[in-house]
């Protein structure tokens, strides 16, 4: 018994169903569209939402890039890439500019994206209100009523306690003045890249069975009070030990007794180094 898998894994009916949900997400920016998330050959929580989006979209003209935490070579990125390539034969690149379809976990590439590119983000918790309200039944209604005081209240409490906002990654954003959206656990550093993005940004949560989207040229605003503005992570006085960049998101690397910094986006770093070499 030897079975062949379909092009891009799914049967065509499944792909069409996912694309329909995606279209709805694009039509209602920031709204979480429920969809019939399929079980995938990789684990729930390992990027199945993003993977389903990618597989439903990929075609013969596409060039694929997959990154995990900024790296093309991270275990999970490699695994996902392998599955997509095995079932489609799509060409793969590490060069952000060359890719038409970029699936990423927890980062938006440093290189600005263009109108001919689609960024697919993997989402663990699509519901930005979940920390305040445990029930899905209730949060659905809160979104319907545009009732977000709970989210503001969380920020207020942080300021009461710590004198500042204490959000880490996944700092919620308002999309086109309507829906509050989880941008997926990208660092705050990447939030501004969503605003007025030329590329279409799709976000898929496989385990939670939701798709949401930020269409090109959409207003995206990080939630913050007027007198306590939103701030990205600071890497003041730090530079990448490899390429010397100063305005990128950096990993801290403990090497011997001292801490050094290195660009988190490895392909961006590499291309900077190549440029210098020329």
């Amino acid at each position: 018994m030897k079975l062949q898998y379909n092009y891009a894994f799914f049967d065509e009916g499944s792909k069409r169903e996912i694309r329909r949900a995606t279209l709805k997400a694009v039509a209602i920016p920031g709204y979480q569209v429920p969809f019939a998330s399929r079980e995938m050959p990789i684990g729930r929580g390992w990027g199945t939402g993003g993977l389903q989006l990618t597989l439903s979209l990929i075609g013969n003209e596409d060039t694929l890039k997959v990154i995990d935490q900024g790296s093309d070579e991270s275990v999970n990125a490699v695994n996902i890439k392998k599955l997509i390539v095995n079932t489609t034969g799509a060409p793969v690149t590490e060069e952000t500019k060359e890719a038409t379809l970029i699936q990423s976990r927890h980062r938006i590439p440093e290189e600005p994206l263009g109108s001919d590119q689609i960024l697919v983000l993997q989402v663990p918790y699509p519901e930005p209100l979940r920390y305040i309200e445990p029930s899905e039944y209730v949060t659905k209604r809160l979104h319907g009523d545009k009732e977000y005081s709970g989210a503001w209240l969380m920020l207020f409490e942080q300021i009461m306690k710590h004198g500042k906002m204490a959000t880490g990654a996944d700092h919620a954003v308002f999309v086109h003045d309507r829906y509050l959206m989880a941008p997926s656990p990208i660092p705050r550093f990447d939030n501004p890249k969503m605003h007025d993005s030329e590329a279409l940004i799709l976000l898929g949560a496989g385990r939670e069975k939701k798709i949401h989207a930020v269409p090109p040229f959409t207003k995206v605003e990080s939630i913050a009070f007027d007198d306590y503005p939103f701030e990205v992570e600071q890497f003041t006085d730090k530079s990448c030990i490899k390429c010397g960049a100063t305005h990128t998101f950096m990993d801290e690397i403990i090497s011997g007794l001292k801490t050094v910094h290195q660009c988190n986006d490895s392909s961006h770093c590499l291309s900077r180094m190549n440029q210098e070499a020329v």
Binding site: E12, W46, E73, G168, R207
Partner: protein, 360 residues
């Protein structure tokens, strides 16, 4: 930083996969898929039930590939299931006319048609049978040729009345209108609350065996407990039919028979209070329903408890909260998300560090 090393990640992964294969084969034995099919009924039934894919052969391959890990085997089958187009829906299957292998009732000593014990470990002592160490194929064949399939019984195993029918005739059951609404399909939708009963039953029957049993047990042992009586547990081979694709409206004579599935079906009786015509309170019975592919008795009984608990909206039981139960019970979802914690989280952690270090 080998985990996310800029170069070499791919090679390391290849090596890890190679090592996995080595672990499976290092004993220099090749597990025969036929042997798994024939001797691992319990695991196959569990895996098919959690995968909600009834295919003994595929389940056996998955078990071989997963080296016997149920979690992993279910994962393989579920992923395979995603690639299959949905071509037909069977006609409604009726367990009352299916051929019964085992059928017991804990509520009545004498049920019409009698108690049929069938194959069960319930009546064994759990002593390790060291004789199995030296069991040979000849022993097996010898046993088989001596084993008389008991057809001395006059009972028609394909027409055993259901115990609930008896209670219904006595007027002891809370009656409901027939509900012929098309059932939801949880594999083709996202959960929406409040859920329909068909949604709940599907989520429960494909729930992780351990989770279903533990949650069902929690309702049994705690305050405000729902203590059911197993009205009937039956294990039956149910024939499945599909409509003739061209003559949808034709009568059942035109249907195609596509095979049998073995299921465990449980109807539990739970007492409820019901106001009668005179404003007095009567004790009546309502039913919790459990069903699972294969012989999965504990799971099916636990499912029947959960089915009932989920209908009790104002109950203090944690398992009456449907969001809690239905969001927690699926094996692919729970094992996947817990195992994702092994993935690198450098970026999110860096972001947390930044917040922690930022001085006011």
């Amino acid at each position: 930083m080998g985990y996310v090393a800029v170069k070499g990640g791919t090679q390391a992964i290849e090596a890890s996969i190679e090592r996995l294969k080595f672990e499976r084969l290092k004993g220099q034995e090749v597990l025969d898929v036929e042997a798994i099919k024939s001797g691992m009924r319990g695991l196959i039934d569990q895996v098919m039930s959690e995968a909600s894919l009834y295919d003994v052969g595929l389940a056996a391959i998955a078990i071989k590939q997963a080296e016997g890990s149920a979690e992993e085997a279910v994962f393989l089958l579920r992923a395979f299931r995603s690639t299959l187009p949905r071509k037909h829906v069977t006609r409604v299957a009726d367990s009352a006319t299916a051929e019964v292998e085992r059928r017991i009732s804990a509520s009545f000593k004498d049920v019409p048609g009698g108690q049929i014990l069938g194959a069960s470990t319930d009546y064994t002592q759990r002593l390790i049978d060291f004789g199995l160490l030296s069991e040979t194929k000849a022993d097996a064949l010898n046993f088989l040729s001596n084993y008389r399939s008991e057809d001395s019984t006059s009972t028609d195993l394909g027409a055993l009345p259901k115990v609930v029918d008896y209670l219904r005739e006595e007027g002891l059951l809370v009656l409901f209108e027939d509900d012929d609404q098309e059932p939801d399909d949880v594999t083709k939708m996202n959960l929406e609350f409040p859920t329909s009963r068909s949604t709940r039953l599907q989520m429960l029957t494909r729930g992780q065996t351990g989770a279903v049993i533990s949650l069902g047990y929690s309702a049994l042992r705690t305050y405000g407990a729902a203590h059911p009586t197993v009205g009937e547990l039956r294990i039956a081979n149910i024939p499945l039919y599909i409509h003739h694709p061209l003559f949808e409206a034709c009568d059942e004579g035109e249907d195609y028979y596509i095979g049998d599935i073995k299921v465990t079906e449980v109807e539990s009786f739970i007492t409820t209070e019901q106001k009668n015509q005179l404003g007095k309170t009567d004790i009546q019975f309502s039913i919790g329903y459990g069903v699972a592919f294969g012989q999965n008795e504990t799971k099916a009984i636990a499912m029947s408890i959960l089915d009932k608990a989920l209908q009790m909206k104002d109950s203090p039981l944690p398992v009456s909260n449907e969001e809690f139960v239905l969001y927690s019970i699926d094996t692919v979802e729970s094992t996947g998300f817990i195992s994702h914690l092994k993935l690198p989280h450098y970026v999110t952690f860096q972001s947390k560090l930044d917040s922690a270090r930022k001085k006011v």
